[in-house]
Symmetry: C2
Subunit: 347 residues, 2 copies
Amino acid sequence: MRTIFWEDNQLKMIDQRILPGRFEVVSFSDHVSVARAIQDMVVRGAPAIGAAAAFGMALAGFESTASSGHDLFNDLQNASDTLKAARPTAVNLAWAVDRVMWIADKMKEERSAAELRQLILDAAQRIADEDVEINKRMAEHGAALIEDGDTIIHHCNTGALATVDWGTALGVIRTAHEQGKNIHVLVDETRPRLQGARLTAWELDQYGIPYELISDNMAGYFLKAGKAQKVLFGADRVAANGDVANKIGTYMLALAAHDNDVPAYSVVPTSTIDLSLEHGDLIPIEERDPEEVLGIQFQGERVAPIEAEARNIAFDVTPNRLLTGIVTENGVVYPPFDVNLRKAVLG
Amino acid sequence: MRTIFWEDNQLKMIDQRILPGRFEVVSFSDHVSVARAIQDMVVRGAPAIGAAAAFGMALAGFESTASSGHDLFNDLQNASDTLKAARPTAVNLAWAVDRVMWIADKMKEERSAAELRQLILDAAQRIADEDVEINKRMAEHGAALIEDGDTIIHHCNTGALATVDWGTALGVIRTAHEQGKNIHVLVDETRPRLQGARLTAWELDQYGIPYELISDNMAGYFLKAGKAQKVLFGADRVAANGDVANKIGTYMLALAAHDNDVPAYSVVPTSTIDLSLEHGDLIPIEERDPEEVLGIQFQGERVAPIEAEARNIAFDVTPNRLLTGIVTENGVVYPPFDVNLRKAVLG
């Protein structure tokens, strides 16, 4: 089953907030609910929110009562603003919405509203289908880097749940495992939302890949002790120079890998690469509700004092100098990233 | 009130496992219970467990039915083994027990059992009293490094609760605050035991020092963004070359400070410096119950899958090259640490 799919004229998504305790598929029939689901992290992961937003645009098409392609396009414009505003950092959200809007714009004068609605749904479906295919290609390129016996440190969740299916960095791990390579994963729990403890652990259980959870701040110990041979993560946006915005903690993890000469790779579809931004400091960084930090409990009790305040920075930027390579569906990109990323994206 | 004190022939300690929800003082009347309390982290923090163990030795003295100083010494020897085995990394534990045993050994032939018992209690009391005085001296030296307007990232708990009173790194922050310096603290929550979220936040609330909690993996963001001017932490053991074993996560924090030219200081009494170990890789590193990692809850539900396994490395070693200085009661020690630490310890 895919994480995100279209069925009975609805968008259906696995609710990632309640895994691994409960497995539930939620249905959406309007784009505003989809935007809220992206914001609330019912669905998360850069490629996944891209596909979800594309289907959100399809829903917006069916919601609109416009009778001409032209009028429908105007309604879609509003919906695209709503969806793109849901989360700022992952560029796939804007990329997917813009791709749908480009088609709508091109066809708005020559097609009827009904035809345009179908074209948009087809485009969304294509984005979802392509995502799976692209992930498999990325995974093949990435798995070639993994050696038998490797212990791999993995940050956040980048698996089937972060995409439509298969995954980016975790897709590499799955493919290496399917190739018969004997691998072990150290799973960063990934505070504050704990996508590692919650989602990556659950996925690895499904796939039968051996793993151990660690708190994020333990990665340095394993790297320094020579007990990890690779570091893998995804990305929410890659700048033209190869700076990588990804889940908070990636920068410190990449630093520790670099300090111990352990190769670190970001695994991303080219749709995550934003050639319009020269470097990573230009990537907008989301700050989320402090309750995600403060609400942690142990033995049923809240840990932080009631009066405590917190910051909750959702992403950080890893400078390109800390990366060994960036794995894309078009191959592994090595430095100089400013030259080679452009080639990987534009061909 | 001190974190650790002697009253009514008992050792009394604040139970640090249930703060900030509940404030409770627990009484101990035998050394085995003290060893267990150290293991279970009723009391934690290198200087605090040193003082607790010294009082544990005093209890062992009163537990013994020996009628001669010589026989009492033999009983004390057993107790010292039990107490020293409670936790391996912090050297203060062994340091305090050995200091008591040195006195017992010296006096065992010339004093009665009753006299020896009192001598040991006096020695423990002296260790506790000195700890407070030493902390205040460290804090003065360290506070001179803090500038008005500094934002300080602090790891774990190093305050009154980690010592007999006042604190090491947090003692520096308290003194800087009392000097009228306008400071702000970013408190690493410090997974897995959350001593930052649980204890440091609680202490800072008591002292009226403004702070915000962050997850450990956010420190890199703030350092890279130029939003933190100092990094402070304690230590559980410092090797002769200045390598610092401290709460897990310190290494990655120090790396991020170093990568951004932000000064990082370890604040320690000289009793934490172990000149017998040439470098940090010789320091024993404790691994604790995986449940400390796995047991994390959010909204009343356990996050990790039931079947998940975890590693729980309690400390890491920060190489001396990442430290700006080591603050002791005898002044701030700068590189070359192998030369200057020896001077600070031996005078």
